[in-house]
């Protein structure tokens, strides 16, 4: 067993990480940094979604629920009690975990498409509740976050680069957790549930428990993203925090990149956000609808042409360039 850094994939990860760390030192354009931050954030939430949606194939279209709970918890703590969003972020994560228990208990009764619909409903109910209760959380108007200037302890920074590094750290956290889950018993159970839930149950996997556990982790991470997002844009309202587009985008990047793979959501986000940034610079931002039209076309093409996502394409290309990966060559299927 070689140390991780000496293996080929370890080398690439190290190279990628270095490039990501150096990037803001080279690029100082604020428009470009804004795009990078979006990419990192959505890749992170995509990774969080992928833990449940990708490995266990529990297709949630309601992750905005946890994004929003994270955003609101930290904002309420900040504005009402002056508590730093760094703490609020984890409080939001805990609130999201608590919320995932009853939501999971309800939604996991359904499978496939109807699970997806039920999760949409939960996110929508939360959004409508926050719209309705104005004395509790500013209602439909929302609120701007107090600008405290350069206050790193309150998660507010002068430079965009600082936000970039926070988002990068979140993504690294998400990837590290996924990497760990992938190689644990939990990972195998999740894949078993994703392949065939009844069969998994039959060979002794406690499917209800494993789904509940992964939902907890996924909800927690998504909530961290929600806090970061409102801290970054300095504004919160129910339509932003519980936006259906968030639910859609995090699922979409995973599908396009490749569900149930470590790097799939990252590949998907880079591709989709790059496309959207290019479109914006060509057409200006005035054309509502262009971005999602292109997203959905990409999605249709990916599903029809390569339903397992684009990451497979990259690995194939990579293997073709480097000839076969020696580690792969030894992998003989057990059942011959």
């Amino acid at each position: 067993m070689k140390p991780a850094l000496l293996t080929r994939s370890g080398f690439w990860v190290a190279a990628l990480a270095t490039a990501a760390v150096v990037l803001p030192l080279v690029v100082s354009d604020s428009f470009a940094l804004d795009i990078f931050i979006r990419v990192l954030l959505f890749a992170f939430i995509g990774v969080a979604w992928n833990l449940m949606g990708g490995y266990a194939k529990q297709l949630s279209l309601g992750h905005a629920a946890y994004f929003g709970l994270g955003a609101y918890t930290s904002t309420i703590l900040l504005i009402r009690f002056g508590i730093s969003p760094w703490i609020g972020m984890f409080a939001g994560g805990v609130v999201a975990m608590l919320a995932s228990l009853p939501i999971g208990a309800l939604c996991f009764r359904l499978r496939g498409p109807y699970f997806a619909i039920a999760t949409i409903a939960t996110a929508q109910v939360l959004m409508l509740l926050f719209l309705k209760f104005r004395d509790f959380a500013w209602g439909a108007e929302g609120t701007t976050l107090p600008n405290l200037g350069d206050a790193p302890l309150m998660m507010q920074f002068e430079s965009k680069a600082a936000y970039y590094y926070v988002a990068l750290a979140l993504l690294a956290l998400g990837l590290a957790i996924t990497h760990r889950v992938e190689r644990s018993w939990m990972g195998f159970y999740l894949v078993a549930v994703g392949e065939d839930e009844d069969a998994a149950e039959a060979v002794g996997v406690d499917t209800t428990k494993i789904k509940r556990q992964i939902y907890l982790i996924s909800a927690f991470l998504t909530a961290l993203g929600g806090t970061f997002y409102v801290e970054y844009i300095y504004f919160i309202d129910p339509n932003t925090a519980f936006s259906f587009n968030v639910s859609v985008e995090v699922a979409l990047v995973s599908i396009v990149g490749g569900i149930g793979t470590l790097w799939g959501p990252v590949v998907g986000t880079v591709l989709l956000e790059a496309t959207s940034a290019l479109l914006q610079s060509w057409l200006g931002s005035g054309h509502s609808g262009v971005q999602l039209t292109v997203y959905s076309l990409i999605l249709v093409v990916v599903i029809l042409w390569r339903p397992s996502g684009l990451i497979g394409l990259f690995t194939e290309l990579y293997q073709r360039v480097t000839y076969a990966d020696p580690a792969r060559a030894k992998e003989v299927p057990l059942d011959g």
């Binding site: 194939k57 297709l59 279209l61 309800l106 939604c107 009764r109 359904l110 499978r111 496939g112 498409p113 109807y114 997806a116 619909i117 039920a118 949409i120 409903a121 939960t122 929508q124 109910v125 409508l128 509740l129 719209l131 309705k132 859609v248 699922a251 979409l252 599908i255 569900i259 054309h287 509502s288 609808g289 262009v290 971005q291 999602l292 039209t293 997203y295 959905s296 076309l297 999605l299 249709v300 599903i303 029809l304 339903p307």
Partner: protein
């Protein structure tokens, strides 16, 4: 008080009839083809725009224009089945869900590009008309929509039970493999099922046009309602979907009346979540026989 309640129930029932057309389509596709069409609401939207443009350019009455919107959407349905849905039938849940979901996003956003987000309405002689029986008001446009929706549902019921093609569809819904062994051509049956479902969505669009504005995202309202009704009415059960849709209409209307104008959807979603908690298999039995 009682009058207010009765009035809310009537309004709910009338709009519930239109919801039923959408739900029946969703449940029909689910029953026969075994996929959930997330884009069903967008076909309602297309139906509405067809009627809007026929009314605004040629002066065709929107309700009458369902003679055009229904066959058009039937044709779109057959093409949809042939070029898209057929290709993902052998794949798992995930590609199927995301195909129709992508289609929904695509249609919404193309509509946004072509028609802008503006609300389009059609004024007919009967748009504002209503009559009353005792203290209760009936809006004529909604009543027409309700009656035609029930008529179409009845025709579908007769088609499914009285014709060979309809029986073939029900057979394919019950057991695809056995149906194929009996010589039923699944491609044909699936095409008809998707076509009929979309035609119903188109009819819903045309019927809504005299009293409901058309805009690119309008389908979302109806598809969410339909999904709840389809779960409530037991997946794949057409009569169940019909009854559940009427219930949803009433629930929404009561919510608006007694909880507040923007709470109709909350009531609907809470109903869904309660159903999932208490009766996850819906209120009714399996496929209507």
């Amino acid at each position: 008080m009682l009058e207010v309640l009765a009035q809310a129930v009537i309004n709910g029932l009338l709009i519930g009839g239109v919801y039923a057309l959408v739900s029946i389509g969703v449940t029909l596709i689910f029953g026969v083809v075994k996929i959930v069409n997330f884009a069903q609401g967008e076909f309602v939207m297309i139906g509405m725009y067809i009627s809007f443009f026929l009314a605004s350019s040629l002066g065709v009455d929107p309700v009458l224009s369902l003679l055009i919107s229904m066959p058009t959407l039937f044709a779109i349905g057959v093409l949809l089945q042939h070029f898209l849905i057929r290709r993902v039938l052998a794949l798992g849940d995930m590609p199927q869900i995301f195909l129709t979901f992508a289609l929904s996003l695509l249609l919404m956003n193309v509509a946004l590009l072509l028609f802008t987000a503006n609300y389009r309405t059609v004024q007919t002689a009967y748009s504002e008309m209503s009559f009353h029986i005792g203290p209760l008001y009936f809006a004529v446009a909604k009543l027409i929509a309700f009656v035609i929706a029930m008529l179409l549902s009845a025709i579908l019921y007769i088609f499914l039970h009285g014709t060979d093609l309809g029986k073939a569809m029900r057979a394919a819904a019950q057991n695809r493999e056995v149906a194929m062994l009996m010589g039923i051509n699944p491609d044909r049956v699936f095409s008809v099922a998707v076509g009929v479902a979309l035609a119903l969505a188109g009819a819903a669009g045309s019927l809504l046009m005299p009293f409901y504005p058309a805009y690119p995202l309008v389908g979302q309202v109806f598809v969410l309602m339909a999904f709840v009704a389809v779960v409530l009415g037991t997946l794949g059960n057409i009569t169940g979907a019909l009854i559940a849709s009427l219930m949803m209409g009433v629930a929404e209307s009561l919510g608006v009346q007694f909880v507040g104008a923007d709470s109709g959807l909350i009531v609907v979603f809470v109903m869904l979540l309660l159903t999932l908690a208490l009766r996850p298999n819906g209120l009714f039995g399996g496929w209507a026989r």
